[in-house]
Symmetry: C2
Subunit: 161 residues, 2 copies
């Protein structure tokens, strides 16, 4: 399992989505604004998240993305694996011929290690993180930056151009 900034972007976006999921679909444009992630990059990430059954796309006006499962059923590990697509940690891809036909030191070492990291990340759900008080504060502050309520009639999407 690889742990890179790519995974962080995905987790952050999923957090944002989880926070606002109750009020209906969330647009990528909103997430892009709030979390400062490029819209097109988000599209790529969400394409993978969708293929892995973590989110559902809702098309048309008023559409956006929704979580495909309850917050508590989505772990950090699932998100990272979805965008990294290379779950495999060993270079011998599961076979044990990595070193001249035999199992290498790395095999035992990294298999065990990455399994434990995976288990750890898999034990943390979106729900777990959202319930932390420090997170709650940030959520409230960021809400100010969000596009005003949709039913308001004026989305102001064009306003700053």
């Amino acid at each position: 399992m690889r742990l890179s900034t790519k995974g962080r972007y995905a987790v952050t976006a999923m957090m944002d989505l989880a926070i606002h999921d109750r009020k209906g679909p969330v647009t990528l444009a909103d997430i892009s604004n709030c979390q400062d992630i490029s819209l097109s990059y988000l599209e790529q990430l969400f394409a993978k998240l969708r293929k892995n059954g973590l989110v559902k796309g809702v098309r048309g006006p008023g559409g956006g993305y929704r979580l495909a499962k309850p917050r508590s059923d989505i772990s950090i590990a699932q998100i990272i694996c979805a965008v990294d697509e290379k779950v495999d940690a060993t270079m011998c891809s599961g076979e044990e011929n990595c070193q001249k036909g035999e199992r290498c030191l790395t095999h035992e070492l990294w298999m065990g290690l990455s399994k434990r990291i995976y288990d750890f990340l898999d034990s943390i759900s979106l729900e777990d993180f959202l319930s932390r008080p420090a997170i709650q504060e940030i959520i409230e502050r960021q809400d100010g930056r969000r596009v005003p309520a949709r039913s308001d009639g004026n989305t102001m999407a064009w306003a700053d151009e």
Copy 2:
């Protein structure tokens, strides 16, 4: 903290070093043979490991590398951080102005997450891994591939050229 193949190479090499450290300095050429890692790449990794006080270089004939500390005092986390050099997980590098002067969601999220991963990896020492039975087997098998005992008088360094 980043988790990539680079870190794995470093950990594997350190494992190999830890295994044979008792018999005196270990050459990078030996590690290169046993673990199938490019010699020049090992040189780069060990330069960083040395700067971070994890290994000591011993020059001259019969030289090589030694652990700078007891096996039990070297954690997986230390090794990975040494070669990745970017311990920092947030993009705002510890400052909290990542998002237009304020703290971003990522900040809380990833700081907590990467701290827990770090703590986890930091709780595993080289000693811990070496004591595992499955590892012991591999060590014994790999020893056959090693350059014959040094005091033998015939290093055969030129033999296969």
